[in-house]
C-alpha cells in the first residue's frame, strides 16, 4: 500500500510574547519541530507498511528549513520526502494551503491512503486534512482512533465522535486524520538517520504545479485575511492577594462561601 503522510514544521515552543510597547511578537529564535500530532500519522503509516508492504512518502509545505522535519521522517522510516516551497505560497491560509498541497499531491504517484495528524499545535484548526480531501475529491474521515480492518479495496476505521464511536468502511483512495490514541510513535533511529542523511528531498515549487493561476496560492488565494493581531485582553476584574500577613485560606474560604459554592 502506498501511503502519503502530511507533516508540518511548527514552532518548538509555545512561549510567544508580545512586546507591550511595540506590539511585536517575540519568538525564541528558529527553534522548531515536527507537529507532534503528525508523529501519530507517520507511525500509523510505518506500521501499515511493515504489515502490508508498500511505501511511505511524506509531504510538507513551508520554507526551506522545513527539510529538517522531512529528514526526521526519514530517520523514522519514511521512504521519500517532498517539500512544497515557494515564496508565492507565503501568507497562505487554510484554503490556500490545502489547495497547494492537493496540487502537489497531483504531481506525485497514486496513493491508496493519505494520513494527517488531527491538527497542528500552532494553528489548531484541524481543517487542512478535510479541505485537501475535498480538492482531491476523495472521502475523508477525521479523528480516527483505531484501524479495524485493512482490506484490499477498503479500510475500516473507528471515528471518535465525543459520545459515540462511528465504525466506518471507506474505499481507497481516502484521507484519514488520526487521533493521538491510535498508536505510540517510535523514536527516530540513529542508524536510519545516518543511512538517509544524503537522501534527496524533492522540492516542488509553484512552476511545477498543474494549476498556474497565481490567484489561488499564497496570500492571494486566501479568502481569510488577518486584519490585526493583538495581545489577549486581561480580565477587568482582578484582585491579587499576596499579603503574607493575611490569612489567605480563610479569605479564600470566605470568598467561595460568599459566591455560594460552599
Amino acid at each position: 500500500m502506498n501511503i502519503l503522510v502530511c507533516i508540518k514544521q511548527v514552532p518548538g515552543t509555545n512561549k510567544v510574547e508580545v512586546d507591550p510597547v511595540t506590539g511585536v511578537l517575540k519568538r525564541d529564535g528558529v527553534d522548531s519541530k515536527m507537529n507532534p500530532y503528525d508523529l501519530y500519522a507517520l507511525e500509523t503509516a510505518l506500521k501499515l507498511k511493515e504489515a502490508h508492504g508498500g511505501s511511505v512518502t511524506v509531504i510538507s509545505m513551508g520554507p526551506p528549513q522545513a527539510k529538517q522535519i522531512i529528514m526526521e521522517a526519514f530517520a523514522m522510516g519514511a521512504d521519500e520526502g517532498i517539500l512544497l516551497s515557494d515564496r508565492k505560497f507565503g501568507g497562505s491560509d487554510v484554503l490556500a494551503t490545502s489547495y497547494t498541497l492537493s496540487q502537489g499531491v497531483a504531481q506525485l504517484g497514486k496513493f491508496e491512503l493519505i494520513l494527517c495528524g488531527k491538527q497542528t499545535t500552532d494553528g489548531d484548526t484541524a481543517q487542512v486534512g478535510p479541505e485537501m480531501a475535498e480538492y482531491l475529491n476523495i472521502p475523508s474521515i477525521s479523528n480516527v482512533k483505531k484501524l479495524i480492518e485493512i482490506g484490499d479495496s477498503h479500510i475500516t476505521v473507528e471515528m471518535d465522535m465525543a459520545n459515540t464511536v462511528e465504525i466506518a468502511k471507506v474505499p481507497y483512495p481516502c484521507l484519514l486524520t488520526v487521533d493521538k490514541d491510535i498508536c505510540q510513535p517510535r523514536l527516530p533511529s540513529y542508524v536510519k538517520k545516518m543511512e538517509t542523511k544524503n537522501r534527496e528531498i524533492k522540492i516542488i515549487s509553484f512552476n511545477d504545479l498543474g494549476d498556474q493561476d497565481e490567484k489561488k496560492y499564497g496570500l492571494n488565494g486566501s479568502p481569510t485575511q488577518v486584519q490585526r493581531i493583538f495581545p489577549p485582553e486581561a480580565n477587568n476584574h482582578r484582585e491579587l492577594w499576596n499579603d503574607a500577613a493575611e490569612d489567605i485560606p480563610e479569605k479564600l474560604f470566605n470568598k467561595i462561601k460568599e459566591l455560594k459554592f460552599v
Partner: protein
C-alpha cells in the same frame, strides 16, 4: 497581486530589520534582505521596520456582490436528533449578529427522523429551519452531508454560517468551505459583524500569546466554527416562532462512499465540559499522589478535576481532562487553578468561566492576568487549610 517589496536602500541596520519578523521570513542573501516562504504577510516589517524598507503592495480584488448573500445560518449539530447544546449558543449569537444588519437567522438541520427535534428549535429565536430528513442521512457521512450543505447554500445563499466545533463540525465545515472556495475560521472566541455584513472573527492564533482578528472580505459565505461553551445560550421562549421548511434533494446527492457499519455508545463519563466547578492541576503539583488534594477539593465543591497539557504529557491524567486549545474548552461557574502558569492556549480553553481563582507561587505568572482572584502562595500550604475549613463548616454544630 499582493506582494511584499523590500527596498534595500531604506534598511538602516540589516540585523535589526531581520529581527523584526517573528517568523524568520526575512533572510540575507548576498547582502540583500529577501522574503522567504515563511512569510505570513502579517505586515509587521512594514509597520516596525525602518520607514519605507518594506512595502506591501495590495491589489484590490474584484468585489463580490455582498447583497446577494443574506442571513446568518447555523448548522444543527446532533446525534439521532439529540441536538448538541452548542447549537443553541450559536443560534443566540446568530440572532445578535443578524439583528445588527437586519438579516434573518436560519438553521440547517440534516438527519433521519428529525422532524420533532426541528420543531424544538423554534423556541430559541430562529426565523427559518431548513430540514433535510432522509434515511440516507441517518449517520454522519462526510460526502453526503457536504452535498446537502452545498444544496442549502446554493438555495439560500447565507452571508455567514456558524458551525459548532464538534467532531462532526470540525470536519464538515472545512469540506464545505473548500467546496465553495471560501474562508473558514476555526474556534472563534469572539464574533461581530460590520454594516457591510463582513463577519469579524477573533481567535487565538499563530500558536502564541496572541489574538487575531480575521475577516473574509471577498468571499461568501463566510464560515466560522465555535466551540461549545464559548457563546451564551439564549433563554428558551415558551412560544415558538419562525417556520420549518422541508427541503428536497436528489437521492443521487445522498450516495456515499462511506459505509457506516455501526455506532457504539461510549461509556458515560463525567466530562469536564459539563462540570459547574473545576479544580485544575498544573505543573505546580509536584507528585502524582498529590493530586488527591486537588481531587478532595473538587469533591467537596461538587466538581471535577481537570489539568493542563504537561500533566497529560506526564501521563497523570486522561487526555479528556485537559483544558486548552489542544484539549477541551470549559466554562464552569467556578474554576480554581492550582500551580497553573496560564499559557494562552490554556487560557483560551477556560477564560469564559464565571469565576476564576488562581493559586500560584509566582507573582508574575500569566494566569493572574485572567484570574478574577489571584492568590500568590503555595498550593501545598493553602489547599489543606481550605479543605479543612470547608469540612469544619459542614460539621453539625
Amino acid at each position: 497581486m499582493s506582494k511584499l517589496i523590500i527596498h534595500q536602500d531604506k534598511i538602516t541596520n540589516i540585523k535589526e530589520f531581520m529581527a523584526v519578523c517573528p517568523f524568520g521570513a526575512l533572510e540575507k542573501n548576498n547582502g540583500r534582505v529577501e522574503v522567504n516562504s515563511a512569510c505570513k504577510m502579517c505586515g509587521l516589517c512594514v509597520k516596525k521596520g525602518p520607514a519605507g524598507a518594506a512595502e506591501l503592495l495590495k491589489e484590490e480584488q474584484a468585489g463580490i456582490d455582498k447583497s446577494a448573500w443574506n442571513g446568518i445560518a447555523v448548522y444543527v449539530d446532533h446525534v439521532n436528533g439529540d441536538i448538541h447544546p452548542v447549537t443553541y449558543e450559536l443560534i443566540g449569537k446568530a440572532r445578535e449578529l443578524a439583528d445588527k444588519v437586519n438579516h434573518k437567522v436560519y438553521c440547517i438541520f440534516m438527519g433521519n427522523k428529525i422532524g420533532d427535534s426541528a420543531a424544538g428549535l423554534l423556541h430559541y429565536g430562529v426565523d427559518e429551519v431548513y430540514v433535510y430528513d432522509y434515511e440516507e442521512l441517518d449517520h454522519f457521512k462526510i460526502d453526503a452531508y457536504t452535498a446537502v450543505f452545498e444544496d442549502f447554500i446554493n438555495k439560500i445563499k447565507p452571508s455567514s454560517i456558524l458551525v459548532g466545533a464538534t467532531s462532526v463540525g470540525r470536519q464538515l465545515a472545512p469540506r464545505v468551505a473548500a467546496r465553495f472556495r471560501t474562508g473558514l475560521t476555526a474556534d472563534c472566541t469572539i464574533l461581530d459583524i460590520r454594516e457591510n455584513t463582513d463577519l469579524v472573527q477573533i481567535r487565538p492564533a499563530f500558536g502564541g500569546n496572541i489574538m487575531a482578528e480575521i475577516m473574509t472580505p471577498n468571499a461568501r459565505p463566510q464560515m466560522a466554527t465555535v466551540r461549545y461553551k464559548v457563546m451564551n445560550s439564549p433563554e428558551r421562549k415558551a412560544e415558538p416562532a419562525g417556520r420549518i421548511i422541508s427541503c428536497k434533494i436528489g437521492r443521487e446527492c445522498l450516495e456515499s462512499k462511506i459505509d457506516v457499519l455501526g455506532v457504539v455508545e461510549k461509556p458515560k463519563e463525567n466530562l469536564i465540559e459539563n462540570a459547574d466547578v473545576l479544580v485544575v492541576a498544573g505543573r505546580g503539583v509536584r507528585a502524582q499522589e498529590d493530586l488527591k488534594l486537588i481531587k478532595e477539593l473538587a469533591d467537596l465543591l461538587g466538581g471535577e478535576i481537570a489539568c493542563t497539557r504537561p500533566m497529560i504529557e506526564a501521563g497523570w491524567f486522561d487526555a479528556k481532562k485537559q483544558i486548552g486549545l489542544s484539549g477541551r474548552t470549559v466554562r464552569p461557574k467556578l474554576i480554581i487553578t492550582c500551580g497553573v502558569s496560564g499559557s494562552v492556549q490554556f487560557a483560551a480553553g477556560m477564560n469564559n468561566s464565571d469565576y476564576i481563582f488562581a493559586i500560584n507561587k509566582d507573582e508574575k505568572a500569566s494566569i493572574f492576568k485572567i484570574a478574577h482572584y489571584g492568590i500568590v502562595g503555595d498550593l501545598y500550604d493553602i489547599l489543606p487549610k481550605l479543605i479543612e475549613k470547608i469540612k469544619v463548616s459542614r460539621r453539625p454544630a
